[in-house]
């Protein structure tokens, strides 16, 4: 197995895990944050769900990180392959590289901002540049 193929095997493992995360965690997050809250559907809340989930919380912040981070990885990995199947096979290497760049920036940003909002997710370590 070439080194590149070995990395790909590892990333496929993460993609697979992300598939489970997106399947189990994402629907409820979309529902409470972007459908139930703006439309006032069950379970009604006057405060927006994101604030309830990620400000000074541990378990629910980690849930958000797993749900969104896993889904992002899974979605981009799969979307790159699908775009190649839809006629962009020749551009596949570029699409994949761009995809990994988005994943890296997305995961770092998500982790960092969640840490700012809930510093207690990493006990004893305050985020740098936090107000």
């Amino acid at each position: 197995m070439s080194t590149v193929a070995r990395f790909h095997a590892l990333l496929w493992g993460v993609f697979s895990l992300g598939g489970f995360i997106a399947a189990f965690f994402l629907p409820i997050l979309i529902y409470i944050n972007n459908i139930a809250y703006p439309l006032g559907l069950w379970p009604v809340t006057s405060k927006d769900p994101t604030r309830l989930l990620v400000i000074n919380q541990t378990v629910s912040t980690l849930f958000v990180f797993a749900a969104v981070g896993g889904s992002l990885f899974h979605g981009i990995f799969r979307l790159s392959a699908t775009l190649a199947e839809l006629g962009l096979k020749k551009q596949e290497a570029k699409i994949t590289a761009l995809g990994y760049a988005i994943i890296a920036v997305g995961l770092l940003a998500l982790g960092y901002y969640l840490w700012l909002l809930s510093p207690n997710i990493i006990p004893g370590l305050a985020p740098p540049w936090s107000k």
Binding site: G19, F20, A22, A23, F24, F25, L26, P27, I28, L29, I30, Y31, I32, N33, N34, I35, Y37, P38, L39, P43, T45, K47, D48, P49, T50, R51, L52, L53, V54, I55, V59, S60, F63, V64, V68, G69, S71, L72, H74, G75, I76, F77, R78, L79, A81, T82, E85, L86, G87, K89, I102, G106, A109, L110, Y113, L114, L116, L117
Partner: protein, 136 residues
């Protein structure tokens, strides 16, 4: 009898064009299944943006919540939820095909795995709601 051998040209193999998935129903369902990844990706990025807005400038965050309440965003979210649920169902089904639940030496239908995982999905969703309602 002549022993001279003539090689005639073959019809070369043609790579499939971008519309191949319209050729049969299985391929089309497959493509819809794969395109769920567009909505999964888009929602993830939008949500990361929301967390960024909340963390970087709580003062202007309420403006972002107006975007969440806009009809366009709600419509997009309903479509995204539909596709995400389609991802869940097809994912559970495929898991049942790849790791079928075995009873003795007999493999069961992937529909059993689909059913059991759907029950898990409901339980997890309720657990998440508890996470978010309890004490708040």
């Amino acid at each position: 009898m002549s022993t001279k051998k003539t090689h005639y040209p073959e019809i070369p193999r043609k790579n499939l064009g971008p519309g191949w998935w319209l050729a049969n129903r299985h391929y089309t369902v497959y493509m819809i299944r794969e395109l769920t990844s567009f909505f999964v990706t888009a929602f993830s990025l939008i949500y990361i943006y929301q967390v960024y807005r909340l963390a970087s400038n709580p003062g202007t965050y309420s403006q972002y919540l107006d975007t969440v309440r806009s009809p366009a965003m709600i419509s997009f979210s309903i479509v995204a939820l539909g596709f995400t649920l389609f991802h869940s169902v097809t994912w559970f089904y495929l898991i049942g095909k790849i790791q079928p639940i075995k009873i003795g030496r007999k493999k069961t239908s992937p529909l059993l795995a689909l059913g059991i995982n759907t029950v898990f999905l409901v339980i997890i969703s309720f657990a998440v709601l508890q996470l978010f309602i309890v004490g708040k």
